[in-house]
Amino acid sequence: MHLAPATFSDTGAGDARKISVAQVLVYELRVRDAMSKPPITAGPADSLRTIQELMRTRRISGVPITSNDLLLGIISIEDIINALTRGYIDDPAENHMARHVVTLRDHFSLVRAVAEFDRHEFGRFPVLDGNDRLVGILTRGDITGCLMQHLERRAEEALAVEAALRATKKADDAADRVVVRAHVRTGDYDSAGRVSQRMRQVLRERGVDPEIRRRAAVVAYEAETNIMIHSLGGEIIAAIDPAKVVIEAIDVGPGIENVEQAMQEGWTTAGRLPRELGFGAGMGLPNIKRCSDNLTITSDNKHGTYLRSEIYIHKAGAPT
């Protein structure tokens, strides 16, 4: 086991301050987390043969001798071998047990336990609680097993967190895209701005920079009123994702005769009523162009007009 604190005293050298999970764990985990419990024990009057049998069946190499949970001594496999060679295997444990036993406290950190193993070269330590009662046995194998178990748990937790993040991200991506659309009827001056209004709300909720919000709103509003004033009807669609707003205005005709001319400020074909209402200033398309980061318009008298405007959010966006 090389979880020695020496690794920590090395931290002066370069970026050795990077501490592994195992190193953190030996500080965090306590002896009580790693020890085998309840301990397998024998009484002082039990024969060494009984203890030998206990070691064989339970596959252990040391047995603490206790009375009322208090530790009296310990019998190791070496003591059994000696008893067999020298012929006192039927003696009671108390006659041959080691009485000065080095113990650990259950609240010790594992790093301290590792240091004790290194210092004493024992295979196991009896573990006592605050009332000196024997509560467990700790071997190096227990420490390794405990660390492996916790590392595995941490790894699983990390994987679970990662998977959860991925799932959330996926859900976010889907929810991040909002599409607002509406049919626009010719001359329906009272309904103008419905898409624009809902789009503004979404952008506001996302904390999009007000200037970008206003530009998108101008495009949507102008595009919507264009369909209303000039076309035989159509549709307006605003697709909002974290990076940009895409506004599409599609109408069924009659098409813009001269797109270049229509892009000039002040040029209008609007009728009297819309002009009285304050529409038809000949500024719609120029306004759209000014507010768009990317604008395409295609128009012919067969298919009507298709307008697509992109407004980028990324710069001051900070979508939440």
């Binding site: 709103a217 101008v218 509003y221 102008e222 200033a281 719609g284 306004n287």
Partner: protein, 115 residues
């Protein structure tokens, strides 16, 4: 007329003999713009301003909301329909009406130091 200073609105309302049509009016204004052409307002009005117009239909509210205009002042004593006022309330835009014509209203604002 465009200004960039922030001006208290309450004294101007008195000078214009204006009547607020919505429950709330803004405390301050950052400027003013005058136009009856919606696209012109969309092109040039700044956020937080007072917009003077004779148009009273609901698109005025839409345009004001689009540009984050703080308040709309209808001149020549014009009044919008109740549904327009309700929409303005919902959008958080103040509506007011003044008996003054647009030119007189602008002059009054100028005289009151709103420049």
């Amino acid at each position: 007329m465009k200004t960039s200073t922030r001006v208290k609105f309450q004294p101007l309302i008195a000078a214009l003999r204006a009547e607020p049509l919505t429950d709330r009016v803004p405390d301050e204004l950052s400027g003013s713009y005058i136009s009856d052409l919606l696209s012109d307002v969309l092109a040039h009005a700044k956020p937080g301003t007072l917009w003077l117009t004779i148009q009273t239909h609901r698109n005025v509210v839409s345009v004001a909301a689009t540009k984050d205009i703080a308040a709309v002042l209808f001149t020549c004593g014009r009044r919008p329909y109740a549904e327009v006022i309700a929409e303005a309330e919902a959008e958080g835009i103040a509506l007011l009406t003044t008996p003054l014509a647009t030119y007189e209203a602008a002059g009054t604002l100028w005289e009151a130091g709103f420049r």
